[in-house]
Protein backbone atom coordinates (compact mmCIF):
# COMPACT_ATOMS: atom_id res chain seq x y z
CA UNK A 1 0.00 0.00 0.00
CA UNK A 2 1.05 3.52 -0.56
CA UNK A 3 1.63 6.25 1.92
CA UNK A 4 -1.52 7.82 3.17
CA UNK A 5 -1.30 11.55 3.19
CA UNK A 6 -3.42 13.24 5.80
CA UNK A 7 -1.59 16.36 6.63
CA UNK A 8 -1.66 18.23 3.36
CA UNK A 9 1.60 18.71 1.51
CA UNK A 10 4.52 17.32 3.37
CA UNK A 11 7.99 18.12 2.35
CA UNK A 12 10.73 15.71 2.95
CA UNK A 13 12.95 16.60 5.80
CA UNK A 14 16.26 17.79 4.63
CA UNK A 15 19.49 17.06 6.26
CA UNK A 16 21.66 19.90 7.40
CA UNK A 17 20.80 23.50 8.03
CA UNK A 18 19.70 23.16 11.64
CA UNK A 19 18.19 26.58 11.92
CA UNK A 20 16.03 26.19 8.89
CA UNK A 21 14.99 22.72 9.87
CA UNK A 22 13.65 23.83 13.20
CA UNK A 23 11.43 26.43 11.62
CA UNK A 24 10.11 24.00 9.01
CA UNK A 25 9.18 21.47 11.64
CA UNK A 26 7.09 23.89 13.58
CA UNK A 27 5.15 25.02 10.60
CA UNK A 28 4.36 21.72 8.95
CA UNK A 29 4.38 18.64 11.04
CA UNK A 30 3.15 15.23 10.18
CA UNK A 31 0.23 14.06 12.27
CA UNK A 32 -0.41 10.36 12.18
CA UNK A 33 -4.14 10.02 11.75
CA UNK A 34 -4.24 6.27 11.44
CA UNK A 35 -5.57 5.51 14.98
CA UNK A 36 -8.22 8.19 14.63
CA UNK A 37 -9.40 6.78 11.32
CA UNK A 38 -9.33 3.27 12.77
CA UNK A 39 -11.63 4.27 15.59
CA UNK A 40 -13.89 6.20 13.23
CA UNK A 41 -14.30 3.16 11.00
CA UNK A 42 -14.88 0.92 13.98
CA UNK A 43 -17.64 3.16 15.30
CA UNK A 44 -19.12 3.56 11.85
CA UNK A 45 -19.29 -0.19 11.39
CA UNK A 46 -20.85 -0.60 14.82
CA UNK A 47 -23.57 1.97 14.24
CA UNK A 48 -24.30 0.77 10.72
CA UNK A 49 -24.76 -2.80 11.86
CA UNK A 50 -26.82 -2.07 14.95
CA UNK A 51 -29.25 0.51 13.57
CA UNK A 52 -32.64 -0.58 12.39
CA UNK A 53 -33.85 2.02 9.98
CA UNK A 54 -37.41 0.79 9.72
CA UNK A 55 -39.66 1.92 12.52
CA UNK A 56 -42.86 -0.03 12.99
CA UNK A 57 -45.93 1.38 11.33
CA UNK A 58 -49.43 1.48 12.68
CA UNK A 59 -52.91 0.68 11.52
CA UNK A 60 -55.58 2.84 13.06
CA UNK A 61 -58.69 1.26 14.43
CA UNK A 62 -61.86 2.80 15.79
CA UNK A 63 -64.50 1.07 17.84
CA UNK A 64 -67.92 2.47 18.71
CA UNK A 65 -68.05 3.75 22.31
CA UNK A 66 -71.29 1.97 23.11
CA UNK A 67 -72.35 -1.51 22.32
CA UNK A 68 -75.77 -0.67 20.99
CA UNK A 69 -77.93 -2.37 18.48
CA UNK A 70 -78.12 -0.38 15.32
CA UNK A 71 -80.86 -1.18 12.86
CA UNK A 72 -79.41 -1.74 9.45
CA UNK A 73 -80.95 -2.83 6.24
CA UNK A 74 -80.00 -6.39 5.47
CA UNK A 75 -79.36 -5.52 1.85
CA UNK A 76 -76.69 -3.03 2.91
CA UNK A 77 -74.74 -5.37 5.08
CA UNK A 78 -71.62 -7.26 4.12
CA UNK A 79 -70.58 -9.75 6.74
CA UNK A 80 -67.09 -11.18 6.65
CA UNK A 81 -66.39 -14.13 8.85
CA UNK A 82 -63.02 -15.69 9.54
CA UNK A 83 -63.26 -19.29 10.58
CA UNK A 84 -60.96 -21.03 13.04
CA UNK A 85 -58.80 -22.43 10.25
CA UNK A 86 -58.34 -18.97 8.75
CA UNK A 87 -60.76 -19.37 5.85
CA UNK A 88 -62.83 -16.33 5.00
CA UNK A 89 -66.54 -16.32 4.22
CA UNK A 90 -68.65 -13.45 3.04
CA UNK A 91 -72.35 -12.98 2.92
CA UNK A 92 -74.40 -10.15 1.56
CA UNK A 93 -77.44 -9.47 3.67
CA UNK A 94 -79.14 -12.74 4.46
CA UNK A 95 -77.50 -14.72 1.70
CA UNK A 96 -75.76 -17.93 2.53
CA UNK A 97 -72.07 -17.46 3.36
CA UNK A 98 -69.68 -18.01 0.48
CA UNK A 99 -66.00 -18.88 0.85
CA UNK A 100 -63.60 -16.30 -0.53
CA UNK A 101 -59.85 -16.13 -0.95
CA UNK A 102 -57.92 -13.26 0.60
CA UNK A 103 -56.75 -12.03 -2.80
CA UNK A 104 -60.34 -11.80 -4.11
CA UNK A 105 -61.57 -9.90 -1.09
CA UNK A 106 -60.35 -6.58 -2.38
CA UNK A 107 -62.30 -6.88 -5.62
CA UNK A 108 -65.41 -7.86 -3.70
CA UNK A 109 -65.11 -4.95 -1.27
CA UNK A 110 -64.63 -2.47 -4.10
CA UNK A 111 -67.48 -3.89 -6.19
CA UNK A 112 -70.04 -3.96 -3.41
CA UNK A 113 -69.13 -0.57 -1.98
CA UNK A 114 -69.30 1.09 -5.35
CA UNK A 115 -72.55 -0.67 -6.19
CA UNK A 116 -74.25 0.50 -3.00
CA UNK A 117 -72.66 3.94 -3.07
CA UNK A 118 -71.39 4.42 0.49
CA UNK A 119 -74.34 2.75 2.15
CA UNK A 120 -72.65 -0.60 2.62
CA UNK A 121 -71.72 -1.58 6.14
CA UNK A 122 -68.88 -4.02 6.45
CA UNK A 123 -68.93 -6.19 9.51
CA UNK A 124 -65.96 -8.31 10.42
CA UNK A 125 -66.35 -11.29 12.69
CA UNK A 126 -63.36 -13.38 13.55
CA UNK A 127 -63.27 -16.62 15.43
CA UNK A 128 -61.48 -16.29 18.81
CA UNK A 129 -59.14 -19.08 17.82
CA UNK A 130 -57.89 -17.61 14.60
CA UNK A 131 -54.30 -16.23 14.68
CA UNK A 132 -54.25 -12.45 15.11
CA UNK A 133 -52.03 -12.10 12.03
CA UNK A 134 -54.85 -13.41 9.86
CA UNK A 135 -57.24 -10.72 11.11
CA UNK A 136 -54.67 -8.03 10.36
CA UNK A 137 -54.20 -9.46 6.86
CA UNK A 138 -57.94 -9.11 6.23
CA UNK A 139 -58.01 -5.58 7.66
CA UNK A 140 -55.05 -4.72 5.48
CA UNK A 141 -56.85 -5.87 2.34
CA UNK A 142 -59.90 -3.82 3.32
CA UNK A 143 -57.69 -0.78 3.90
CA UNK A 144 -56.16 -1.23 0.49
CA UNK A 145 -59.58 -1.50 -1.12
CA UNK A 146 -60.46 1.80 0.52
CA UNK A 147 -58.19 3.71 -1.85
CA UNK A 148 -59.88 2.30 -4.90
CA UNK A 149 -63.37 2.82 -3.46
CA UNK A 150 -62.63 6.46 -2.64
CA UNK A 151 -61.36 6.99 -6.14
CA UNK A 152 -64.31 5.34 -7.86
CA UNK A 153 -66.87 7.11 -5.71
CA UNK A 154 -65.16 10.43 -6.29
CA UNK A 155 -65.68 9.86 -10.00
CA UNK A 156 -69.40 9.73 -9.29
CA UNK A 157 -69.17 12.85 -7.18
CA UNK A 158 -69.52 11.15 -3.82
CA UNK A 159 -67.38 11.52 -0.74
CA UNK A 160 -66.34 8.26 0.81
CA UNK A 161 -67.66 7.56 4.29
CA UNK A 162 -66.39 4.38 5.69
CA UNK A 163 -68.78 2.20 7.59
CA UNK A 164 -66.94 -0.62 9.17
CA UNK A 165 -67.24 -2.49 12.42
CA UNK A 166 -65.73 -5.43 14.22
CA UNK A 167 -68.13 -7.66 16.06
CA UNK A 168 -67.62 -10.77 18.15
CA UNK A 169 -68.48 -14.05 16.55
CA UNK A 170 -71.60 -15.66 17.92
CA UNK A 171 -72.39 -19.33 18.08
CA UNK A 172 -74.90 -18.85 15.35
CA UNK A 173 -72.18 -17.48 13.11
CA UNK A 174 -69.95 -20.40 13.91
CA UNK A 175 -72.67 -22.86 12.99
CA UNK A 176 -73.45 -21.15 9.73
CA UNK A 177 -69.96 -21.54 8.39
CA UNK A 178 -68.91 -24.71 10.17
CA UNK A 179 -70.02 -27.04 7.40
CA UNK A 180 -68.70 -25.12 4.44
Amino acid sequence: MGVADFGGEVKRERRGGTRRRKKMRRLRYRLDMTPLVDIAFLLLTFFMLTTTLITPQVMEMTVPPERTQVEVRQSELLTLRIRQDGRIFYSLGQDAPQPIELKDLRTLAVRENVRLKNRLITLLKASPNVPYGRVIAVLDVLNQAELEITEQLAREGLKRERRFAIAPMTEQDEQEIAQL
Binding site: D5, L44, Q57, V58, T62, A126, P128, Y132, G133, V135
Partner: protein, 174 residues
Protein backbone atom coordinates in the same frame (compact mmCIF):
# COMPACT_ATOMS: atom_id res chain seq x y z
CA UNK B 1 13.33 1.07 -16.17
CA UNK B 2 14.63 1.03 -12.60
CA UNK B 3 13.52 4.60 -12.13
CA UNK B 4 9.95 3.73 -13.06
CA UNK B 5 9.84 0.84 -10.62
CA UNK B 6 10.84 3.03 -7.73
CA UNK B 7 8.04 5.42 -8.44
CA UNK B 8 5.42 2.69 -8.37
CA UNK B 9 6.45 1.42 -5.00
CA UNK B 10 6.06 4.62 -3.09
CA UNK B 11 3.04 6.64 -4.08
CA UNK B 12 1.01 9.10 -2.10
CA UNK B 13 -2.72 8.51 -1.71
CA UNK B 14 -4.83 11.38 -0.56
CA UNK B 15 -7.29 9.93 1.93
CA UNK B 16 -8.93 13.15 2.98
CA UNK B 17 -12.22 12.68 0.99
CA UNK B 18 -12.54 9.13 2.27
CA UNK B 19 -12.13 10.24 5.85
CA UNK B 20 -14.57 13.08 5.27
CA UNK B 21 -17.25 10.71 4.05
CA UNK B 22 -16.54 8.29 6.86
CA UNK B 23 -17.04 10.96 9.47
CA UNK B 24 -20.17 12.18 7.74
CA UNK B 25 -21.67 8.69 7.80
CA UNK B 26 -20.52 8.14 11.35
CA UNK B 27 -22.19 11.34 12.49
CA UNK B 28 -25.39 10.38 10.66
CA UNK B 29 -25.61 6.92 12.17
CA UNK B 30 -24.71 8.13 15.63
CA UNK B 31 -27.36 10.82 15.58
CA UNK B 32 -30.11 8.65 14.12
CA UNK B 33 -29.44 5.65 16.33
CA UNK B 34 -32.22 5.03 18.78
CA UNK B 35 -31.38 2.95 21.72
CA UNK B 36 -33.58 0.28 23.15
CA UNK B 37 -35.92 1.67 25.75
CA UNK B 38 -35.64 0.48 29.30
CA UNK B 39 -38.95 -1.31 29.00
CA UNK B 40 -37.77 -3.21 25.96
CA UNK B 41 -34.58 -4.35 27.60
CA UNK B 42 -36.58 -5.79 30.47
CA UNK B 43 -38.90 -7.93 28.39
CA UNK B 44 -38.39 -11.61 27.97
CA UNK B 45 -40.15 -12.09 24.67
CA UNK B 46 -39.85 -10.95 21.12
CA UNK B 47 -42.90 -9.96 19.17
CA UNK B 48 -43.35 -11.26 15.67
CA UNK B 49 -45.50 -8.46 14.33
CA UNK B 50 -48.15 -9.01 11.71
CA UNK B 51 -47.26 -7.67 8.30
CA UNK B 52 -49.22 -5.05 6.44
CA UNK B 53 -48.68 -3.14 3.23
CA UNK B 54 -46.44 -0.10 3.40
CA UNK B 55 -48.06 2.83 5.09
CA UNK B 56 -46.84 6.26 6.04
CA UNK B 57 -48.34 6.28 9.52
CA UNK B 58 -45.73 5.74 12.18
CA UNK B 59 -45.89 4.95 15.83
CA UNK B 60 -45.87 8.22 17.83
CA UNK B 61 -43.19 8.45 20.53
CA UNK B 62 -44.86 10.90 22.86
CA UNK B 63 -47.51 9.98 25.41
CA UNK B 64 -48.05 6.51 24.14
CA UNK B 65 -49.30 3.55 26.09
CA UNK B 66 -48.39 0.23 24.54
CA UNK B 67 -50.19 -2.96 25.35
CA UNK B 68 -48.12 -5.86 24.23
CA UNK B 69 -49.39 -9.36 23.78
CA UNK B 70 -46.34 -11.53 23.75
CA UNK B 71 -45.45 -15.17 23.98
CA UNK B 72 -42.82 -15.77 26.64
CA UNK B 73 -39.77 -17.39 25.10
CA UNK B 74 -39.00 -19.43 28.19
CA UNK B 75 -42.36 -20.41 29.60
CA UNK B 76 -44.23 -20.27 26.31
CA UNK B 77 -47.33 -18.64 27.78
CA UNK B 78 -49.15 -15.68 26.36
CA UNK B 79 -49.74 -12.59 28.45
CA UNK B 80 -50.50 -8.89 28.34
CA UNK B 81 -47.71 -6.44 29.05
CA UNK B 82 -48.26 -2.78 29.72
CA UNK B 83 -45.80 0.04 29.24
CA UNK B 84 -45.87 3.79 28.71
CA UNK B 85 -43.42 6.09 26.99
CA UNK B 86 -43.99 9.01 29.34
CA UNK B 87 -42.01 8.37 32.50
CA UNK B 88 -43.83 10.74 34.82
CA UNK B 89 -47.24 9.48 33.75
CA UNK B 90 -46.03 5.94 34.18
CA UNK B 91 -44.94 6.66 37.74
CA UNK B 92 -48.28 8.24 38.53
CA UNK B 93 -50.29 5.42 37.01
CA UNK B 94 -48.34 2.56 38.53
CA UNK B 95 -47.54 4.27 41.82
CA UNK B 96 -51.14 4.25 42.95
CA UNK B 97 -51.56 0.56 42.30
CA UNK B 98 -50.23 -1.41 45.24
CA UNK B 99 -51.46 -4.74 43.96
CA UNK B 100 -48.87 -4.76 41.19
CA UNK B 101 -45.83 -4.95 43.49
CA UNK B 102 -43.37 -3.66 40.97
CA UNK B 103 -39.64 -3.30 41.47
CA UNK B 104 -38.81 0.43 41.66
CA UNK B 105 -37.28 0.81 38.20
CA UNK B 106 -39.60 -1.45 36.24
CA UNK B 107 -40.87 0.09 33.03
CA UNK B 108 -43.04 -2.78 31.90
CA UNK B 109 -45.55 -4.84 33.78
CA UNK B 110 -47.06 -8.23 33.09
CA UNK B 111 -50.76 -8.04 33.76
CA UNK B 112 -54.02 -9.89 33.54
CA UNK B 113 -57.17 -8.51 31.98
CA UNK B 114 -58.60 -7.00 35.18
CA UNK B 115 -55.37 -5.21 36.09
CA UNK B 116 -55.12 -4.00 32.52
CA UNK B 117 -58.58 -2.51 32.82
CA UNK B 118 -57.46 -0.66 35.97
CA UNK B 119 -54.23 0.53 34.33
CA UNK B 120 -56.03 1.85 31.27
CA UNK B 121 -58.60 3.64 33.41
CA UNK B 122 -55.87 5.32 35.48
CA UNK B 123 -53.97 6.24 32.34
CA UNK B 124 -57.09 7.90 30.98
CA UNK B 125 -57.45 9.87 34.22
CA UNK B 126 -53.80 10.90 34.45
CA UNK B 127 -53.59 12.00 30.82
CA UNK B 128 -56.67 11.68 28.62
CA UNK B 129 -54.68 12.45 25.47
CA UNK B 130 -52.54 9.34 25.81
CA UNK B 131 -52.76 7.22 22.73
CA UNK B 132 -52.99 3.48 22.86
CA UNK B 133 -51.23 0.97 20.69
CA UNK B 134 -51.70 -2.76 20.53
CA UNK B 135 -48.48 -4.55 19.77
CA UNK B 136 -49.38 -8.18 19.49
CA UNK B 137 -47.64 -11.22 18.17
CA UNK B 138 -49.25 -12.47 14.98
CA UNK B 139 -49.40 -16.01 16.33
CA UNK B 140 -51.58 -15.26 19.35
CA UNK B 141 -55.21 -16.23 19.32
CA UNK B 142 -57.53 -13.44 18.25
CA UNK B 143 -59.38 -13.84 21.56
CA UNK B 144 -56.58 -11.94 23.31
CA UNK B 145 -56.99 -8.98 21.02
CA UNK B 146 -60.78 -9.11 21.11
CA UNK B 147 -60.83 -9.01 24.92
CA UNK B 148 -58.36 -6.16 24.92
CA UNK B 149 -60.42 -4.13 22.46
CA UNK B 150 -63.44 -4.65 24.67
CA UNK B 151 -61.51 -3.31 27.69
CA UNK B 152 -60.37 -0.30 25.69
CA UNK B 153 -63.90 0.34 24.52
CA UNK B 154 -65.22 0.22 28.07
CA UNK B 155 -62.66 2.83 29.05
CA UNK B 156 -63.71 5.09 26.19
CA UNK B 157 -60.42 4.63 24.39
CA UNK B 158 -62.17 4.12 21.09
CA UNK B 159 -59.29 5.04 18.80
CA UNK B 160 -56.17 2.98 18.98
CA UNK B 161 -53.46 1.57 16.76
CA UNK B 162 -52.32 -1.85 15.75
CA UNK B 163 -48.56 -2.01 15.43
CA UNK B 164 -47.50 -3.76 12.24
CA UNK B 165 -44.40 -4.33 10.20
CA UNK B 166 -44.07 -3.35 6.59
CA UNK B 167 -44.49 -6.27 4.24
CA UNK B 168 -41.95 -6.50 1.43
CA UNK B 169 -43.90 -5.74 -1.77
CA UNK B 170 -43.16 -9.04 -3.49
CA UNK B 171 -44.33 -11.20 -0.62
CA UNK B 172 -47.99 -12.26 -0.61
CA UNK B 173 -49.99 -11.94 2.60
CA UNK B 174 -50.16 -14.94 4.87
Amino acid sequence: MPKLKKRRLGFVLDMTPLVDITFLLLTFFMLTAKFKSEAESQQRFTIVRPQATADTSRLPDKDLAIIKIGIDTVAGDTSYYYEMTNETDWARVVGSMEQLQLPPNARQVKVGLSELDELIRRTRIVKPTTRFAIDADRRVRYKWVEDLMEVLRQNRATVFNFVTDRRPPEQPPM
